[in-house]
Subunit: 199 residues, 2 copies
């Protein structure tokens, strides 16, 4: 039995459909919405509509952006001869937070996953190859996730890009800074050993 009016029920359901929102949070959010004044409600809805309307993919790197090319591809401060290949738009954010990478990006929008029927032609690999042919690229840094799919994608990419005479690198895997040797899984530890560097 439902204790709320249909309109509230529907609103709660809407919020419940969002990721990481449980029933209690959905109820709280729904009532918060009801408490908002007209202006605040309009701002909330407009932010959704604007994002859905204005955002497009950058035709170079496939980042999501209000402009095409995106601010990163368009920036004269970025070295367009180094491309960091990531699986998802959000991975760009993670990379940018390091303040270390000054090159540009290429978003694959997925990773090769035969289990899920996703092959090389389903992600933006063709587009990456076109970029490599049309521009003078010195290095490709593959920053796909250190999971089976990400590794498979990394290996696939290196196999097709290396013959073009372009340097292909993979970001290092190892123990996270602040991590604990005792609690590090054996695969990560093996990778950390393999990737050891002289001091």
């Amino acid at each position: 039995m439902s204790y709320f009016s249909p309109s509230i029920e529907k609103l709660i359901e809407s919020f419940e459909k969002l990721p990481s929102i449980g029933h209690k949070t959905a109820v709280r959010l729904a009532f918060h919405m009801l408490d908002l004044n007209e202006q605040e409600t309009k701002e909330f809805i407009d932010s959704i509509i604007n994002a859905k309307t204005n955002l497009k993919f950058c035709s170079q790197c496939y980042n999501i952006s209000d402009s095409d090319p995106c601010p990163i591809c368009n920036s004269p401060k970025r070295d367009s001869s180094i491309i960091c290949v990531v699986e998802d738009v959000r991975d760009i954010l993670a990379m940018e937070r390091t303040h270390e990478f000054k090159g540009v990006y290429h978003v694959l929008h997925g990773s090769i996953s035969p289990m899920n029927g996703i092959g090389p032609e389903d992600i933006k690999i063709k587009e990456l190859l076109t970029r490599l042919q049309e521009n003078d690229i010195k290095e490709i840094i593959i920053a796909t996730n250190p999971r089976v799919e990400g590794e498979a994608t990394a290996i696939y990419l290196s196999k097709i890009i290396k013959p073009l005479g372009i340097k292909v690198t993979r970001i290092a895997h190892g123990i996270p800074v602040g991590g604990d040797l005792e609690y590090t899984d054996e695969v990560t530890l093996t990778r950390a050993l393999e990737g050891r560097r002289e001091l």
Copy 2:
């Protein structure tokens, strides 16, 4: 420095303004919104607009409802001679979940709080008194929250309603079911002692 495009930033900010949503969840929700198709986006926005447009206060109990009177006030199965007084619309939900209460409600929309400048005239007490005069009421159950403001409101209500010859009761305070005597605060334990019943 912002790493996202303005439209995404704005969307993330919108979600961050919601209660119990931190930055990481806001980012996740914003990107989830971008992933929704047109129909799903429309449904989400419509659920907000519909709720804001359709919902009104029940003119009897001040519950939020699509209809006036609300389904509870309108139900012939409910005993309209027993009124449970609560602070907030959400408290009705908590009471309804017990499946025990068969009377009707009155939502005060707040509690007396001199500290915050909220007096008896700022919450729906006048409306409650009008209800008591116009209807044949047998009992008022005061279910305000067991906090200073809720207690003050309960005492105030009992003082003005008792002279009308109507029975006024307060829900019991005590140790929650499943609670632990050892970890129960002394105020609750005192209340539990005071409220003891013969077995």
